[in-house]
């Protein structure tokens, strides 16, 4: 069942379960992805989702609330902020744990680029990549094999592998040469 934005707002204000279930179906998955891909566990993701719904209810309950964007998008943005809050709270403790965990393959960079800023930089560079590059990298991330991609794009598997490498390098170079990225890194070196 689909709801209009007005029905969703009314449903939230009247605490209608079918509206919350609808929102969950629509937006839970990207929120889970955002949290688990940014240093969170499945449990963290669940908590973040639930907390975000509470905050959304508080926002929508305000008499002068006007939704100038989709409620699902609003919920996603709230979740990102909630998660960032959580990461900030954990920051010092997490760094202590990582420094003392000898099994860790990846060492956290103490001066890690601010997450929203990184996302902004990434998104700008992503748009500049060629369509083919975006599709190839996304296909890899979706778990498609080299052979499947070779069929899809009509290339040899060795070509796909080379293109993936070139596309990733291009994206990486764009990100690392982005003025905001360079400025932050330069300031850290001072």
């Amino acid at each position: 069942m689909e709801f209009t934005e007005e029905q969703i707002v009314a449903g939230i204000r009247n605490r209608k379960n079918d509206v919350f279930i609808y929102l969950e179906k629509k937006i839970r998955r990207p929120i889970i992805a955002h949290v688990t891909l940014n240093r969170g566990t499945d449990e963290d993701a669940d908590d973040c989702y639930n907390d975000s719904v509470i905050v959304l209810i508080r926002m929508v309950d305000k008499r002068d609330f006007k939704n100038t964007c989709k409620i699902s998008t609003l919920l996603f943005d709230i979740a990102k902020k909630i998660w960032l809050q959580q990461l900030d709270r954990r920051g010092p403790a997490a760094k202590y744990k990582i420094r003392h965990n000898e099994d860790t393959i990846v060492q956290q960079d103490d001066n890690e680029l601010d997450q929203p800023l990184f996302e902004k930089i990434f998104d700008e560079c992503w748009k500049k990549l060629t369509r083919e590059c975006r599709l190839i990298l996304k296909s890899y991330m979706k778990g498609m094999s080299g052979e499947e991609m070779a069929d899809l794009f009509d290339y040899k598997t060795s070509t796909i592998r080379k293109k993936k490498c070139n596309c990733h390098s291009t994206l990486k170079e764009m990100v690392h040469n982005h003025p905001d990225y360079r400025r932050i890194k330069r300031d850290e070196d001072i």
Binding site: T73, F118, E119
Partner: protein, 279 residues
């Protein structure tokens, strides 16, 4: 290939899973001992993770609205910072509140207070179990549903115009553009009902759009007419049934699938166990 090119190739191969097991072991050993390599890997992994996240976001969120959402949330946060503080008590209250639907209406009109209280408790328990069951069905659906990514469906695209259309629709489906894929496949299946792939992916596109009831009709009709993609159609139909609370129908389909070899059989077995635990 220069040294720098080889380095980049190795890094990208590891990040995107293009190394075999022995190459991976060697690389992981180097990551533990080479700090520069580890730092570089971490920085580049961020990029790969962001791509993964983008896939999830693009399939669900209107990115053009993100900036406006951000503005709204920031504005609200400035005016009401306390709204962004969620305590354990808030969580417990929210959980209890959400378990009972419709706080207004008929509950107020019950005449005898004791009978009213008892009826409210019974109704509440029934509603909680229904809502929990619907919630749990939704959760199982979300956990097990993945779009069907399989390039073997593309191999017949070398055929006539209808297969070119099919290929175009599949491409749109894999891009997450379910509504456009739906339109193309609806046109295609109306004139070429013999193309199994078109019908299967029409059902899948409906699922992608959230139109579960239409997807159920399409998969059921397909299964009564054709055997070619029986397993795929049964799997996705079972997910639709789980989503709509029709566990028995889902169970029948999954039971059939547990006997097949491969990932689908394994997934069906796992899902069946989860379903049995719920009921």
């Amino acid at each position: 290939m220069t040294g720098a090119d080889k380095y980049s190739q190795r890094m990208a191969d590891y990040i995107y899973g293009d190394m075999d097991a022995s190459e991976r072991l060697v690389f992981e050993k180097e990551l533990k001992t080479d700090e520069k390599l580890a730092r570089d890997y971490h920085n580049q992994l961020k990029i790969a993770r962001r791509i993964k996240e983008k896939i999830e976001i693009e399939e669900t969120i209107d990115e053009s609205e993100l900036a406006e959402a951000d503005r709204l949330v920031n504005k609200h946060r400035e005016q009401f910072p306390e709204d962004f503080i969620v305590t354990d008590e808030d969580r417990a209250n929210h959980q209890a509140f959400m378990s009972i639907s419709g706080r207004t209406g008929s509950l107020r009109r019950i005449i005898y207070p004791l009978a009213a209280a008892a009826a409210a408790v019974i109704v509440g328990i029934l509603i909680i179990s229904n809502v929990q069951s619907a919630d749990q069905g939704s959760r199982l659906y979300i956990k097990y549903y993945d779009p069907l990514e399989d390039a073997r469906f593309v191999k017949r695209s070398a055929g006539g115009q209808e297969y070119k259309k099919l290929h175009q629709a599949l491409y749109l489906y894999w891009e997450g553009e379910y509504s456009t894929a739906d339109k193309l496949l609806t046109e295609l299946t109306s004139s070429h009902s013999e193309i199994d792939e078109a019908i299967l992916f029409l059902g899948l596109s409906k699922m992608g759009e959230g139109n579960i009831s239409d997807a159920v009709i399409i998969f059921n009709n397909y299964l009564s007419d054709s055997d070619k993609y029986r397993y795929e159609a049964s799997w996705y139909l079972s997910l639709c049934y789980i989503k709509t609370g029709q566990s028995e129908k889902a169970r029948d389909l999954l039971l059939d699938l547990t006997s097949i070899n491969g990932d689908l059989g394994k997934d069906a077995t796992k899902l069946l166990k989860r379903l049995d635990k719920l009921n």
